[in-house]
Symmetry: D2
Subunit: 161 residues, 4 copies
């Protein structure tokens, strides 16, 4: 099995600025790399970057670029790390473009850099989904894994279910 | 969805002794609790303890106790944390006793207490499996999830594949 | 020995917003509390909050409030956690108001919530200083502890020396 | 300022065995290296190994080797990481051999590999002591830093004070 991990940005990859007088986050290398180093997995993988954006700033062009990356890649199983606020929009977009491949979208509520981040658990959920499913667009968040059109979100708490 | 997590011991739950002059590990509360606190999951769950043993010391009686716990419980989806050395033996045993329920066996190469542990990733793999499968005995380790009879292990490196 | 820890904000205490659609950091409870829980110290302590601000936003009024807190408190050894950009200004202010007590100012380059934060090391430096010195205003950063008027900062790298 | 860190073993450096069927800890590279990487200190340093032993197994020969290492080294400020059970014995030995240099002995109750270890705080205490003191043999544990002959230990809780 070979998995292709694709970074698009989002909370999971937010890091602290290295410059003085910084305040907001900045995006660093894919957190996926650090998580996979801990896992030392038995599957083959590569880690790519499609964009590095907060999910509220992802445009249709970004989504098309992501769809193109997936379509043009020889792989058939993709795990996309993504900001939590527009996962469903990206999933819906991809379902019309690359639904014959397997794509699992995940992310995190707290940056992977945080010691109390749930990013490693979420990535584990995505990896298992890639083991067990053959095609379709899935979302994995808050311990729930569903085909994207069945995933719901509590807009008050932000939790998927 | 409701998941039942069952502790049997193993590396994942090894903690450092609190007494002076201690050397070897001792078993603490289920690491699952700390991981689920980070996840803040949308599913319901409970965390039970069947035994607290290194997997090389698990006996047939321990396995029968575990099978009984699962059989007698009203739940139908179980995640069993277990030492890495005899996961297959326990899976094989359970398959003859409770194969009509879903059981995912997982654990860790390094204790969850370690900052470089892969336990949260593995538990994520197990949780996703419980989302996607209805019955059978699965093992989730090293990023691989398979029905237990298909899982193999490299005895030199200890890695499942 | 009794130590009084005083929070003023700064990077060390930045936490991730719990709301959806958040971007920048917000201040949480003093990171000092989490660090002291790990240390399980033999000294007595209390943890107070003077303000919760980025150090560039600390005003003279904030500094006077901090000086008042220290002057009016019965304790004589204080560790102030503070943003890294204006530590020297606060130290200079305090030296004119409370120089007969011991104050150690410290903070962190990365929030304590980060798994790669140096906050626990810095707080350790401050605690040792409180053990060894009787009065004066000290700064502890980047492994260097000096009476505040002798501390210098490389404005390009942000490092104290 | 230049500091010389010397590993002798002890809980702080205990790591999990990489082999299968391992149970007890094994000693890895000095935890000091990982802590200093987080600190990114402004002082110069080197990290040496004198031995890798549980402190109950340290012999007079080990202590003489450590004393020789310190005596023969051109540096004058040393931080020795050491098991918690015989810190005072080693300190006493060194005081008769190298008391004209500065030696700070520290360690940890939980291995630095543990996410709840207090090792970084303790090392911070030792580093500050090396900043502020010129000579003598100190112990830094549980947030207390004292000249070694003044340090006491509660034998029931294991805590220094």
């Amino acid at each position: 099995m070979k998995l292709v991990f694709v970074q698009t940005g989002g909370t999971i990859d937010k890091d602290y600025p290295h410059t003085t007088k910084g305040w907001a986050f900045e995006f660093g290398e894919p957190a996926t790399k650090r998580i996979l180093e801990k896992l030392d997995p038995s599957f083959e993988f590569e880690v790519l970057t499609s964009c590095q954006k907060d999910s509220l700033e992802i445009t249709e062009e970004d989504r098309q670029n992501l769809a193109d990356l997936i379509s043009n890649h020889e792989g058939d199983k993709f795990i996309v790390t993504h900001g939590t606020d527009t996962m469903s929009e990206t999933a819906d977009y991809l379902s019309k473009k690359v639904g014959d491949k397997l794509v699992v979208i995940t992310g995190a509520v707290r940056p992977e850099r945080f010691s109390n981040s749930e990013a490693p658990i979420n990535l584990g959920c995505a990896i298992a989904t890639a083991n067990l499913m053959d095609k379709g667009i899935f979302i994995a968040m808050h311990g729930i894994v569903k085909e994207h059109s069945e995933m719901k979100r509590n807009l008050e708490t932000g939790k998927y279910y």
